[in-house]
Symmetry: C2
Subunit: 104 residues, 2 copies
Amino acid sequence: SKLEETIKKTVSDKPVVVYSKTWCSYSSEVKTLFKRLGVEPHVIELDELGAQGPQLQKVLERLTGQHTVPNVFIGGKHIGGCTDTVKLHRKGELEPLLSGSGAK
Amino acid sequence: SKLEETIKKTVSDKPVVVYSKTWCSYSSEVKTLFKRLGVEPHVIELDELGAQGPQLQKVLERLTGQHTVPNVFIGGKHIGGCTDTVKLHRKGELEPLLSGSGAK
Ligand SMILES: N[C@@H](CCC(=O)N[C@@H](CS)C(=O)NCC(=O)O)C(=O)O
Ligand SMILES: N[C@@H](CCC(=O)N[C@@H](CS)C(=O)NCC(=O)O)C(=O)O
Ligand code: FES
């Protein structure tokens, strides 16, 4: 579908992509983590896109199996949500991923 | 107002009250924290009350200055959100509040 193509293009063009909701604290937490690591994620606020928001979320669920926000991609690879990203960071595995993706 | 009376009665009758949303991870986090401390909070899921949900949120905002979820009360006293509750716990001040409210 057209939306599927849009998502695939976005996550392959940008090193770090976060599908988010402006009022969600978990989305804010993961955005803040990237900024603290010196990375400017490409952020798509699903609640600011009108009808396209829920449609994008449905396609994200089809592509990743994840219907929740935040939905994080690094170097085109699906990472997961906030807890997944924080866990990678705690294990020291996030920064190598960011360097490998060209984000840092 | 009638809703104001309902909130005031709920927070004075129950030792620990959490106004929450079922799909919000911060609301889940604070509910889990209480359960881990052996306390069963009285939980009101604002997204399961139909039109009354947003109305209750407006009244909570008028009473507490806080429009966000989770909105936590202990022993009738407004505590704040998830980060406020976690901060109290880290400082060792949450459990004395819970004991004092008759929750533990
Ligand atoms: N462990 C996940 C939790 C994600 C989650 O539950 N997100 C919530 C918002 S904080 C959500 O999208 N809820 C919508 C739903 O459950 O339908 C993470 O860390 O990202
Ligand atoms: N620091 C606050 C954050 C509360 C917060 O921003 N809650 C969000 C959901 S996670 C909310 O209610 N957003 C609605 C809004 O901002 O209008 C806490 O720990 O509770
Ligand atoms: S909506 Fe509350 S943490 Fe996401």
